[in-house]
Amino acid sequence: METLGNHAGAEPAILARGVWKSLTGPPVLRDVSLTVRSGETLALLGPNGAGKSTLLHVLAGVMRPSRGVVVILGRSVEDPAVRRYIGFAGHRSALYGHLTAIENLRFFADLYALPYRHAELSLELFGLGEYRDTPVRLLSRGIVQRVSLARAILHDPRVLLLDEPFTGLDASSAARLRELLSSLRLRGCAIVVATHQWNEARELADHAVVLVGGRVAANEPAAGLTPDRLAALYEERRPGVRGPRPGAPVYAESTE
């Protein structure tokens, strides 16, 4: 637990090196490398099918990479001790429809050996008090998304991986989430947010990694992102295209 407990900003909180992942058919991830330090937010951009969700699953340790390594807080993601420090909210809610919002959060509090007040606090944090005792299957998509996010941060993770977290949120919930992510960052949490929105990435993130066809097409400061830049990256690194057009600038971090 030495590295986990004392982990500071010097070493990357998230380190992926040469990650490949095949499910069925051609590889979904191809030689992906990235780093995120504690207190940093990384935006993961890419068109549909680029491999963003798969990469988040691999970074969370839910899927094993076919090749390559993932290190979280100085330990291999395969190390069970790492799991306690990771918060993950995927594209789907990971909630049980027949349980109420509070029952879902209490269930996960049980799994993390946390007092039930963490469940209550998480609900409050997302303004979900009035939906506390409503079965999740009866909640709207936006509310389910908020409960799902409350579940992901229930155990105060030091690495937070979010797949399209703003989908379905209304303006005030989205603002609340931005505030929360900002406060988690200040407390040293390393955050990866997969998104389709370049402006969201610019607003939230320090860095942006653009995935196209499972490869890192760019890894650069998020402030430099523009729609034109993204469109150019998507075009020049379509699946099957081996590299950038001659002369085109590419900021890929690759171990190839």
């Binding site: 049980y96 349980l99 996960f108």
Partner: protein, 216 residues
């Protein structure tokens, strides 16, 4: 222990509210027993009982892991700082309790339709039923996890479960036959040994296999 109880409580609460598994398993069991009785299978009552229980279990167990996949709940479970084997054990115990409830209904119908009285040693019958059911449920829970992501899981599970459960089925039928004929526990010790080995094997195998199954 807290995580195990949480998984068990969660599965039973969901089944209590959704009523997805037990009612359909019980209805199927009653239909099979009634069909067997109407076809003059009364002489093969123990075989009908166990075939009914096995087929009903295969129906329910195919759906058991599906509830962990429709919203990718399995990823959140695997990410929790618990031994993944607890997921299997918790779900296995929940499945066993649901199966025992279905068995209660099945046995009631069985005694009426097949004109079966209370055996001389009811404890021996209870032991055979418990071990046989535990073996089916443990094997079925493991196979259910393996086929959960397959689109054809409801077909695939019986295809895998029924042949693998043949040794258990044979031992359970023989033991039930003997107990219903008035023989005691000593007469069925070898069959009880087979049933206990089956339950132990598929209760223990996931300690090695389950993490691989859920992560891949």
């Amino acid at each position: 222990m807290r995580a195990l109880l949480a998984i068990l409580r969660k599965d039973l609460t969901i089944e209590g509210r959704a009523r997805e598994l037990a009612p359909s398993m019980a209805v199927l069991a009653l239909l099979l027993l009634t069909a067997g009785s109407a076809s003059g299978m009364v002489n093969a009552a123990p075989a009908m009982l166990w075939i009914t229980l096995l087929v009903a279990a295969s129906l329910g167990l195919a759906r058991s892991f599906h509830q962990e996949l429709d919203q990718d709940q399995l990823s959140a479970l695997v990410l929790a700082p618990i031994n993944p084997v607890l997921i299997y054990v918790g779900k296995g115990i929940a499945n066993l309790l649901v199966m025992i409830a279905v068995e209660g209904v099945t046995l009631f119908a069985f005694t009426i339709l097949y004109n079966v009285g209370v055996p001389r040693e009811p404890g021996a019958l209870a032991l055979v039923l418990l071990l046989g059911t535990a073996g089916i449920v443990m094997l079925g829970t493991l196979l259910g996890a393996m086929v959960a992501v397959a689109r054809t899981r409801e077909v695939l599970l019986p295809v895998l479960l029924l042949p693998l459960a043949v040794p258990l089925l044979v031992a359970a039928v023989r033991a039930t036959e003997k107990v219903l004929a008035g023989q005691g526990i000593a007469a069925v010790s070898s069959e009880v040994g087979v049933l206990a080995s089956f339950a132990l094997l598929f209760g223990a195998a996931p300690v090695v296999l389950f993490e691989f199954v859920v992560r891949e």
